[in-house]
């Protein structure tokens, strides 16, 4: 693996996940958003400590994307506050945006740029000098296993390649806090492993990661902190062990959120024993 793209390393020492959250990297209070009278996010409170690799899990439509969009300044909340390292996202968006990186769920990028150009563009947007942006872009593409495709247009990339390119764009300015919405959706196992290792390394250096997912195994493997969101509310939050309570995360999640559907009753014709 290549060296992590330069810049100062924010925060030092081991991740203070087990310590009381004195000055959280992400602090959310009373965040609420409704669309057409329906609450998408019905008032959430959340604290994520610095250096934490936190997961936000929930069923489809639980409000994960809406919450992350509001935390990153891309969607205006009806009410509520979001502090990133003490900076209010909605009172001082410029300062807050400078310290975050974002990978949205539906990754649609500037398709007519090549991978190399796209990352360089993202770096220059964030104020890096052109030479530095080019160098970091090349290093990130190398680490993300996109080196051979660096000169191909993003329009010709697969879903997994786009996710990796978007991750590169989000990391190039060395943010203190990284938000990812379903980062491994549609990503092949090899690329998923690359992304997982990169995120772990990033968090181990003292930076903070919050990502949403509905793949419990993944969250269980990599996260030290987990929050479960259902119907626009946080129903459980804490360290992985606290939330699991001795069960698997999958079981804890189903116990909290409840099951849906009939599990295939009525499909008597389905399966090899029928004809």
């Amino acid at each position: 693996m290549a060296e992590r793209a330069g810049g100062e390393q924010p925060g030092t020492g081991p991740p203070p996940a087990e310590q009381p959250v004195a000055q959280p990297a992400i602090s959310v209070r009373g965040l609420r958003k409704s669309f057409g009278g329906k609450d998408a996010v019905a008032g959430i409170d959340l604290d994520i400590g610095r250096g934490s690799l936190a997961g936000l899990v929930g069923p489809n439509g639980a409000g994960k994307t809406t919450s992350l969009s509001m935390m990153t300044g891309l969607l205006r909340p009806d009410i509520g506050t979001v502090l990133i390292n003490g900076i209010s996202v909605w009172a001082d968006p410029a300062a807050a945006k400078a310290v975050i990186g974002v990978v949205p769920a539906e990754v649609r990028l500037f398709e007519r740029l090549s991978g190399q150009e796209l990352l360089e563009y993202a770096g220059r947007l964030r104020g890096l000098p052109a030479g530095e942006a080019r160098q970091r872009a090349a290093q990130l593409l190398d680490v993300l296993d996109l080196k051979d495709d660096a000169k191909r247009l993003v329009a010709d990339y697969s879903t997994g390649m786009r996710k990796k390119a978007a991750l590169g764009c989000a990391l190039i300015h060395n943010p203190q806090v990284l938000f990812l919405d379903e980062p491994l959706e549609g990503v092949d196992p090899v690329s998923a492993d690359v992304i997982r290792r990169l995120l772990k390394r990033f968090a181990d250096s003292g930076s903070t990661v919050l990502f949403s997912s509905h793949v419990m195994e993944l969250v269980e493997q990599v996260c030290d902190h987990v929050s479960i969101i259902a119907a626009g509310r946080i129903v459980a939050t804490g360290t992985m062990d606290e939330v699991r309570g001795g069960k698997t995360l999958q079981q804890a999640f189903i116990d909290l959120v409840g099951t849906r559907g009939k599990g295939g009753e009525g499909l008597s014709w389905l399966g090899s024993s029928s004809s």
């Binding site: 891309l74 969607l75 949205p104 500037f110 563009y121 220059r124 104020g127 030479g131 000169k151």
Partner: protein
């Protein structure tokens, strides 16, 4: 199989009709146009009776129809679900029944029927005698079959390419020659006919070549039958039928290939270079300009708009150029060119689409937004301004008054500045998501935003026209005494005035966008490009 596929086509149509009011309206509109085309073609062909060049003209008309059948499905690719073999690739189907089924599905619908009805006009226009009428009916049916088979062969052979990114890009660019051709038919030909520069006899030369293609064979078969050469008539029809069968066989081969192979032509394409321009003195403006400039070069939509701008600049001026005051034509060309550049950029956030989130994460405050608008404008201007200066100049040189082209430069520069400035204002004030729909090569406003888009376009055109009035007055004052000193001063004045207008637009656009950046991000995210 034929029944299933015909039913599939009808069901797809009914499904689309149930889907939305817009689909219903467009279906009614399309059926009405088909009916008008049927009546018009029938009447047109029938009116050729007793015309000395009837068979030449019929040959040309039949050939044009065949050409239409080849071109239109390529643009409408994705509109008709039965056109793309990939949709059927998963089913266990043999090629032969599939070929017959798809042919039947193709022949179903308002447009094939309109073609048949219209082209039956030769029964009145060319046929004299009972045998000739019979031959004419067979010829018309054969012509429609030929058109459908040809269209199927071309779409199937190109289906892999059409599904690929490169194919879609080419389809977008195809709009430039099609638009130019349309303008030739709608504007140039009627005038040529009006001035007696184009007569029925002019087609005899074309007919000498076209008569050996199936549409020509069909038309000439009717002519032969009418003049008592029944044998040659039948031979011609047999030849046309044989060509159609060969095309059908080729199509069946292309189909069986298309069912099992995918296009990989874009997999290996890489770009040269690899670094964004304006690295040295970038800043935010330079960075945005660098990306926009790459888009101006690589995005087929931008290229298509530039091509259309040139076509429009030429077409709008033709009438005036041939009149007594050619300078008016040259000026119109420059003014319209500038305004249409503004129209291209009139919805900057929607055109950027969901990728705008990347910019939004780095933008803050009016200053950032000013840089964003300025960067985009600079990139557009770098490509568009030379065009807007050169096209009127060339037109002026052709008419023999090169100084008119220099005068038009002042107007072109002012109009481009005004257009870009107003585009920035409208981008912030009346933003709407864009959508690329099947059947429409250029992205359009998303459903439900038609009025907003229309208001924006008309507003921009009117505002540009008003803003350039001072320059037009200045040109009128100078025009009578154009000399070496006044013309450069006029051009410089136009450039400064245009730059001021563009700058004002940037400032106003940034002021309006500031404070509603999250809303603009959400709106841009709704664009489907």
């Amino acid at each position: 199989m034929a029944r299933v596929l015909v039913q599939l086509k009808l069901r797809l149509l009914l499904g689309a009709l149930r889907g939305s009011n817009a689909a219903r309206v467009s279906f009614i509109l399309s059926s009405t146009i088909a009916l008008l085309v049927a009546i018009g073609t029938f009447a047109g062909l029938a009116a050729l009776r007793h015309n000395g060049a009837a068979v030449d003209l019929t040959t040309v008309i039949y050939t044009l129809f065949a050409l239409g059948w080849v071109i239109l499905p390529l643009i409408a690719f994705g509109l008709d679900g039965t056109l793309d073999p990939a949709t059927l690739a998963l089913y266990p189907l043999r090629t032969r029944p599939l070929v017959i089924g798809l042919l039947a599905a193709s022949a179903t619908g308002a447009w094939p029927l309109a073609n048949l009805i219209g082209e039956l006009g030769i029964v009145v226009g060319l046929a004299h005698g009972a045998l000739a009428v019979l031959i004419a009916v067979i010829a018309a049916v054969l012509q429609v079959l030929f058109c459908i088979t040809l269209a199927r062969l071309v779409t199937t052979a190109l289906a892999g390419l059409m599904r690929s990114r490169r194919g879609r890009d080419l389809a977008v660019l195809a709009i430039i020659p099609i638009f130019a051709l349309y303008e030739v038919f709608a504007q140039v030909l009627p005038k040529a006919i009006g001035n007696h520069e184009l007569t029925a006899a002019s087609f005899a030369e074309v007919d000498r070549w076209l008569r050996w293609l199936p549409p020509g064979l069909a038309a000439h078969a009717v002519q032969d039958a009418s003049t008592g050469h029944a044998g040659t008539a039948v031979l011609r029809l047999l030849l046309a039928a044989a060509v159609t069968v060969v095309l059908g066989w080729l199509w069946a081969r292309a189909l069986s290939r298309a069912l099992v192979t995918a296009d990989a032509s874009t997999q290996g394409t890489t770009i040269k270079g690899g670094s964004l321009p304006f690295g040295r003195r970038g800043g935010l403006t330079g960075t945005i300009a660098a990306r926009s400039l790459v888009y101006q070069r690589r995005d087929p939509t931008s290229l298509a708009y530039l091509g259309l701008t040139v076509v429009i600049m030429i077409v709008v001026s033709i009438g005036a150029l041939r009149g007594t005051h050619p300078v008016v034509g040259v000026l119109i060309s420059a003014g319209v060119g500038g305004a249409s550049v503004g129209l291209q950029r009139g919805d900057s956030f929607g055109v950027d689409g969901p990728a705008f989130y990347l910019d939004a994460l780095a933008l803050s405050g009016r200053r950032g937004l000013r840089s964003w608008f300025a960067g985009q404008n600079a990139a557009v201007a770098v490509i568009a301004v030379p065009l807007i200066l050169v096209v009127p100049l060339v037109l002026a040189i052709i008419t023999g008054h090169p100084v008119d082209g220099l005068l038009a430069m002042a107007l072109g520069l002012a109009a481009t500045g005004a257009g870009l400035g107003i585009a920035d204002l409208f981008s912030s004030a009346l933003p709407y998501p864009m959508e690329r729909r099947a059947g429409s090569p250029l992205p359009r406003q998303a459903e439900g935003f038609a009025m907003q888009s229309l208001a924006g376009r008309f507003g921009a055109l009117i505002a540009t026209a008003i803003l350039v009035i001072p320059v037009i007055v200045a040109i009128a004052e100078t025009g009578s005494a154009a000399d070496a000193v006044r013309v450069p001063a006029l051009i410089a004045g136009g450039a400064v005035y245009g730059a001021l207008l563009a700058w004002a637009g940037i400032a106003l656009g940034a002021a309006i966008a500031d404070g509603k950046l999250p809303e603009l991000v959400q709106l841009a995210a709704r664009s489907k490009l």
